[in-house]
């Protein structure tokens, strides 16, 4: 049996590796996607005062600490059975909306966009943000930096710091904002809306206007029929910060809509001994292995999932884009993984609109940003949508509010099975008779990259590809061929 090792994968928070096994004819028999890291948050948070959880869980991910901070904030509120005052909730959601804009921006422009803007067959050296800038204009690079700057500014104003915010405590926040800060935030939000619209237009002109790309998006290689999960508000519209978790089946029918506190009735995590990460699946459907279909409990969480699982967007500009999206792609639900990039931009627009809604809310500068808890702490669940998927934090404490148990199901974790399946399908489709070429490398990347695996950020001088080294071993273990790709 021949074995292809791809190590390390990059643009994943932490590290990952892929093993592809070929039979004697040179066709793919199986693919394994391994996560080689474990840090143990569920263990070492035990014994800590529960109000530290929004600070400790920040460090699960430095790209999306805001997501963990908010899930933790809601969980500690639940632990203390305290409802923060409305201004605190609005401030948290405002921070969160600005964060979404930053995060989705950096992923699209530096990671996902180049595949389309430059084309999957473009020279490796051009398939990056620099190539994008040359093609679309120097102005674009400046706008991307500006969007990131603004997003992090808002996080700092409300959250205290740019990375690893510190202001959420049980019952609300440690501070509010002044009118002057509110004005700054509003001004930055108006830029965000323009920038989101610009990004959608760029996608429309460059990607949707190009038949080759449209074929790629609609093609079978990147299509999987799975369940879809996302947080929705009381009108079943997408909401990143609050709501119930809704899951729809591959035909788009609602399977379940659950309250955060009931998540354990619906989600279980399958274990394999060759990886440190577990595979979440829907309990009621069951674990049937890494396969598609209505009978398989595998579900996807991502911007596309959120759009599939909802009945629409809660803001007008984003709603119009949502309708256009489904009209173009032939109805709901959409199963093509590359469409995640488009869905991500629709969410960028929604986040920007929500940013303005909250920044202009009359309560947003209220000095009433904290309610002191009065009940004894026990147990609580907090769920938000991380950019990569539904994020669940569950804490148990003793009567002093010291953590005794923790359960976390993290955004990208939801997608561990779908990503593995996407990689396998790309490998299956492209590796025939032992021939591995450059095309494989990029196509495998595109399958992986669409999910925006936890580490979604990049630099301006980002070359177009993940580093991949594909080593083909003969059946005797000797090296037959080595293909490298790098800038």
């Amino acid at each position: 049996m021949q074995q292809i090792t791809i190590d390390p994968i990059t643009r994943l928070e932490g590290h990952g590796k892929i093993e592809i096994f070929l039979n004697d004819e040179g066709n793919v028999v199986n693919t394994y996607f391994q996560i080689p890291e474990l840090r143990g948050f569920e263990r070492f948070c035990i014994g800590r005062p529960v109000e530290e959880m929004p600070l400790l869980t920040n460090r699960i991910c430095g790209v999306c600490p805001e997501a963990h901070h908010m899930a933790a904030a809601k969980a500690v509120d639940a632990v203390y059975h305290v409802d923060p005052p409305a201004p605190a909730k609005k401030l948290r959601e405002l921070l969160y909306s600005a964060f979404y804009c930053t995060d989705h921006t950096t992923h699209f422009y530096a990671l996902g966009g180049p595949d389309f803007i430059m084309g999957p067959d473009a020279p490796v050296a051009e398939r990056n943000i620099l190539g994008v800038i040359h093609k679309v204009g120097l102005e674009v690079g400046g706008k991307v930096i500006q969007m990131r700057k603004y997003g992090h500014s808002v996080v700092e104003i409300i959250g205290g710091r740019k990375v690893h915010p510190c202001t959420s405590i049980p019952g609300g926040l440690t501070k509010g904002i002044t009118e002057e800060q509110r004005k700054q935030i509003e001004e930055m939000g108006r830029f965000a809306i323009e920038f989101a619209q610009f990004s959608l237009k760029a996608f429309n002109d460059i990607v949707l206007g190009n038949k080759q790309y449209v074929d790629l998006i609609l093609g079978d290689i990147y299509t999987h029929h799975t369940y879809y999960m996302g947080l929705v508000d009381e009108n079943n519209k997408v909401n990143f910060y609050n709501g119930k978790v809704r899951v729809v089946d591959p035909d788009g029918k609602e399977l379940v809509k659950y309250e955060p506190k009931d998540y354990a009735d619906h989600i279980a995590e399958h274990v394999e001994p060759w990886t440190y990460l577990k595979f979440p699946y829907l309990k009621k459907v069951g674990w049937k292995g890494l396969v598609d279909g209505k009978d398989s409990g595998i579900y996807m969480a991502t911007p596309l999932s959120r759009l599939n699982a909802s009945d629409g967007m809660a803001t007008p500009l984003a709603q119009a884009e949502y309708e256009k999206f489904y009209k173009t792609l032939g109805g709901k639900p959409v199963h093509q993984r590359l469409a995640i990039h488009w869905a991500r931009l629709i969410e960028l627009l929604y986040a920007a609109e929500r940013w303005i809604e909250l920044a202009t809310d009359p309560e947003i500068t209220s000095p009433n940003f904290h309610t002191i808890p009065t009940e004894k702490p026990t147990e609580g669940v907090g769920i938000v949508e991380a950019p990569r998927g539904t994020l669940t934090h569950h804490y148990w404490t003793d009567e002093r509010g010291v953590v005794t148990k923790v359960n976390l199901i993290v955004g990208t974790t939801n997608n561990y099975a779908p990503i593995t399946m996407s990689i396998k399908k790309a490998a299956d489709s492209l590796i025939k008779n032992g021939k591995v070429n450059e095309g494989l490398l990029n196509m495998v990347e595109m399958a992986f990259r669409a999910y925006d695996p936890c580490f979604g950020c990049a630099t301006h001088s980002l070359p177009g590809q993940m580093p991949l080294e594909v080593t083909i071993h003969g059946a005797d273990g000797g090296k037959v061929d080595v293909l490298k790709q790098y800038c």
């Binding site: 590290h15 093993e19 460090r59 430095g62 990131r148 440690t174 501070k175 279980a268 001994p273």
Partner: protein, 326 residues
């Protein structure tokens, strides 16, 4: 003439250090102009084999973040030490272990058991991940976890330390300026072993809150009081690590109303950060009666976590007895 080579690597890290480097915004282009970026897994394509093929010391500057959690982390640390002229322990994980170092309170077995027996984990045969596992098609490998987290300098020789979780962008920008100036002969690098990109005092010096004589009769959990926004947090009984924590962050957290949790590491001259805080906190407790002292201390529900939150792996004791037993 070719540009000096630059590398940045993440071991057991969260990615926050990488994001903080990006938050120097336009300045990243100066880095790009002054250096040849040869290895930065988050951002570009070079692989371990490319580093292995380099000459010893070929990389002029390597920013190494993340802690030593498994054997792969240690292997890459040794590799990059060999290939780099200047190796900087970048960020709290590399300098002192940071939050993942809290795992050093438990044994490795406890940590893995907890992760694989959570409420939602479906694990009927009680499997645990194996460093080497045979599947029908062949053998799969994953790194082996260390018994406890180590700091970068517990594994290799380190030239400079840049503290912070993460280091603040204005500090990173200052260090970038310094290194570029030094490479052009316009400035001197500090002596080896120095802490760079941070201040020489404590967070208290940067904190604008009013300070009086502290005499604590009760420790308060931050959510249980309406804290005075102008007054020192420790004085209000909120456990704040400012007194022993290195300055350089501009006291962002106390300014935002949250206690300093110590992410910038030990202040200048501190041998053991936790011990320093034991001394500081004990000194300001307002009681001379053992029973009363005990009662006041009951308000600190997790003293070891409070005092060693970022620092356990880099402390004198390093890990609990349970972690040592394995």
């Amino acid at each position: 003439m070719s540009k000096p080579k630059f590398a940045m690597y993440w071991a057991a890290s969260c990615g926050g250090c990488e994001i903080s480097v990006l938050n120097i915004h336009e300045k990243i282009l100066e880095v790009d102009a002054a250096f040849d970026v040869v290895f930065w897994p988050v951002a570009m394509d070079a692989k371990y084999k490319d580093v292995e093929a380099m000459q010893d010391g070929e990389i002029t500057l390597c920013l190494f973040n993340g802690g030593m959690r498994n054997d792969e982390n240690e292997h890459i640390a040794k590799l990059l030490r060999q290939k780099s002229k200047i190796l900087v322990a970048f960020g709290s994980c590399a300098c002192e272990g940071c939050i993942p170092g809290l795992a050093n309170f438990s044994s490795l077995g406890e940590m893995v058991d907890t992760a694989f027996t959570t409420l939602t984990t479906d694990n009927p045969t009680n499997l645990r991940p194996q460093p080497s596992y045979t599947v029908p098609e062949g053998v799969l490998h994953i790194p082996t976890l260390n018994p406890f987290v180590k700091t970068l300098d517990q594994v290799v020789d380190v030239d400079y330390y840049m503290p912070g979780c993460p280091p603040e962008p204005h500090q990173i920008a200052a260090v970038v300026d310094l290194v570029i100036a030094a490479l052009n002969g316009k400035a001197e690098l500090p002596p080896k072993g120095a802490t760079i990109g941070a201040g020489n005092s404590t967070v208290c010096e940067e904190c604008p809150r009013k300070r009086n004589v502290k005499s604590i009769k009760v420790f308060n959990r931050i959510q249980m009081i309406q804290a005075d926004p102008e007054l020192c947090l420790l004085e209000q009984g909120i456990p704040c690590n400012g007194p022993a924590t290195r300055s350089g962050c501009n006291a962002r957290c106390p300014i935002a109303g949250a206690q300093c949790i110590g992410c910038y590491g030990p202040a200048e001259g501190v041998v053991d950060y936790g011990a320093r805080l034991v001394s500081a906190f004990a000194s300001v407790i307002d009681s001379e009666k053992p029973d009363e002292i005990d009662k006041i201390l009951d308000g600190l529900v997790d003293p070891a976590g409070q005092f060693y939150r970022f620092n356990l792996a880099g402390s004198l004791l390093r890990a609990s007895k349970a972690a040592q037993k394995g």
